[in-house]
């Protein structure tokens, strides 16, 4: 291994030094993919934390029956804003914007993305959209109360500020499309010599599949949201049966985007897991080709299953059959990934450091989320649990236990590379334990409540649900205490922790071959790739 270099203090060395500009303009007008990555990272993290506070407030309200801290209207607004911020301002832009930008160009041996200015523009669009959404909370008729899905006819009739919020989401969607175009072009055109498609790190493969979903599906979200605005201002009647419209058309349009959006959230997370597991099992990944292929298969097949959100809507039985069947088909590529990760672990020399712990938690929690998804994907069982707390438990397992835990894993795995310093291991493990335990108490309980018949999106419930709701709320406090410990430890480490050398984990992808922190141009000379991304022998790693 390379000896620890003369490490400068945090926020110094490598790309931190090159500015040309000073102060904040060195960041908000930078076209360096690493700086844009960090801009995105801190932006999405801020929104994540805001939405976590809202989630905790929801749980406090549900701690006991009746009114606890807020009334029904406030509750409706809080779960709507919690959902909108988590989905549109955190997890959809999150991976691509932060770790996609930080790591992907380096992993393929490029100096930057294909369109650096467009990259910056994408961040600005994101911020503009976020600003509009925030404005919508405090102006007009107050924060939207429709749920993050903006279903008609309620979203057309409610007096709250739906139009502005929807317009903000529209702008954020534009930013997502722009990033998708940029990443597809970058991955096609800027791979270094020898970086064949068969040597592409699996994180890059997952970003590539995701980028196509962003390009092809997001415009449909744009249209759908524009139609809501048209309905509200012009009364076009598109979704109004009294005027020849069809309310189910809204649900089709919305889910044509929003189910694939679930893959925008989870695919890059799966990519992160495919990087962490071989590095910490010190073994080439099992079934590289199948993992890469399954990313594309998930993106393609996953685009044709949206109808599983509509089984109880009055949609035709034929459609129920088709969409139910296709939903089960998507389980196959997802299971391929899980099997390959587990096979990689088999007989590896596993070191249980923080990134690996998050990866292992991902595998378990994502599997629970995926399997409960089949209960919802089978039309017969869905009828019973549709719109209950079971659904809320299920999708938190997938998005939070899956995508967000992968995001935390990525924070521990990659951020030290960019700061040149690392967190302390012990507190990271304690934080992981707290979050893992708290998470399961919170959301498994919610799934049980749903099975017993407690609906979602209500601020009140029958007295018989009280004990389990209390358990779930206490779980959310354990979860959040772990989250706070994790963040404090991580950031303290990044700014004051132990310095690290080029390759602290002994991984074989390109980002670990360049200095820590990476120089502005990433590579001193054009790299020539001679081995696969998980070929530890070829990379000379013991």
């Amino acid at each position: 291994m390379i000896p620890v270099e003369n490490v400068p203090p945090a926020g110094d060395g490598g790309f931190w030094n090159d500015t040309g500009k000073t102060g904040i303009t060195a960041w908000i007008f930078s076209t360096d993919h690493k700086r844009i990555g960090l801009l995105y990272f801190y932006s999405v993290l801020t929104f994540f934390l805001i939405a976590v506070v809202l989630g905790v407030l929801l749980r406090i309200e549900l701690m006991a029956p009746g009114r606890t801290i807020m009334g029904p209207q406030t509750y409706n607004a809080v779960f709507t804003v919690h959902g909108v911020v988590m989905v549109f301002l955190f997890i959809i832009p999150g991976f691509q914007g932060s770790f996609g930008n930080l790591v992907m160009p380096i992993q393929i041996g490029a100096r930057d993305v294909a369109f650096p200015r467009l990259n910056l523009f994408s961040w600005w669009l994101y911020i503009a959209g976020a600003a509009v959404i925030i404005t919508s909370l405090f102006t007009g008729g107050g924060p939207p109360d429709t749920g993050w899905t903006f279903y008609v006819p309620f979203s057309e009739r409610t007096g709250t500020n739906v139009s502005l919020a929807v317009f903000g989401v529209f702008i954020v969607g534009f930013s997502s499309i722009v990033t998708g175009l940029n990443f597809v072009t970058t991955i096609h055109r800027l791979r270094a010599e020898g970086m064949t498609w068969g040597r592409l790190p699996l994180f890059v493969w997952s970003l590539y599949a995701t980028a196509w979903v962003q390009i092809l599906a997001t415009p449909i979200l744009g249209i759908t949201l524009a139609l809501i605005i048209a309905e509200r201002f012009l009364g076009t009647g598109l979704f109004d049966p009294a005027r020849g419209g069809d309310p189910l058309m809204y649900q089709h349009l919305f889910w044509i985007y929003s189910h694939p959006a679930v893959y925008i959230m989870i695919l890059p997370g799966m990519g992160v897991i495919s990087e962490i597991i071989p590095a910490f099992a010190r073994k080439p990944i099992f079934g590289y080709k199948m993992i890469a292929f399954s990313s594309l298969a998930i993106a393609a097949a996953g685009s044709l299953v949206w109808g599983h959100h509509m089984f109880t809507s009055g949609m035709s039985d034929t459609a129920i059959l088709v969409f139910s069947f296709l939903t089960f088909v998507v389980a196959i590529p997802s299971a391929i990934k899980v099997f390959n990760w587990v096979s990689t672990l088999y007989r590896g020399s596993i070191s249980l450091e923080a990134p690996m712990l998050f990866a292992l938690a991902f595998i378990l929690l994502f599997s629970i989320g995926g399997l409960t998804g089949l209960i919802l994907g089978a039309a017969a069982t869905d009828i019973h649990v549709h719109d209950t707390q079971f659904v809320v438990g299920h999708f938190h397992y997938v998005i939070f236990g899956g995508a967000v835990f992968a995001f935390f894993g990525a924070m521990h795995y990659w951020l030290p590379k960019f700061y040149g310093r690392r967190y302390a291991e012990k507190p990271a493990v304690v934080a992981w334990v707290l979050m893992f335990v708290g998470f399961n108490i919170t959301y498994f309980t919610m799934m049980v409540l749903g099975m017993k018949g407690m609906p979602r999106r209500y601020y009140d419930y029958l007295p018989e649900f009280a004990p389990l709701n209390l358990v779930s709320t206490i779980g959310s406090w354990i979860l959040v205490s772990g989250l706070i410990l994790m963040l404090v430890n991580l950031f303290r480490g990044l700014f004051k922790g132990e310095p690290i050398d080029r390759n602290p984990w002994g991984a074989a992808t390109l980002e670990w071959t360049i200095p820590t922190p990476p120089p502005t141009e990433n590579f001193e000379e054009e790299p020539v790739v001679t081995h696969g991304p998980y070929d530890f022998k070829g990379a000379g790693i013991p």
Binding site: G307, S316, T318, F323
Partner: protein, 93 residues
């Protein structure tokens, strides 16, 4: 990709515009007459022709290279599949 300008004459553009207006009138006509499910097919067919004209002439796709045409074709096929799948619902309700 080609940077050369292609200039479409005013006459041609006007003719296409008039064509689009005529097709719009046809859409309205279809909407006003009860032709069953043919109403959906008819409207979609007209929309496709109109979209095609706009893309080919107003957006100059007729004069673009292969790559862009294929990309557009791919994107439109995906859209067609999406719309097509909603027919599992609309046709069998």
């Amino acid at each position: 990709m080609s940077e050369q300008q292609h200039i479409v004459s005013y006459g041609k553009l006007t003719a296409i515009w008039l064509g689009l207006l005529a097709l719009t009138a046809l859409t309205v006509w279809v909407a006003r007459h009860n032709v069953g499910i043919g109403h959906v097919w008819g409207s979609l067919a007209i929309a496709v022709v109109k979209g095609g004209l706009v893309i080919a002439f107003f957006m100059h796709m007729k004069y673009e290279g292969r790559l862009l045409r294929w990309l557009l074709f791919f994107a439109l096929s995906v859209l067609a599949i999406f719309i097509g799948f909603t027919f599992f619902d609309v046709l069998y309700r």
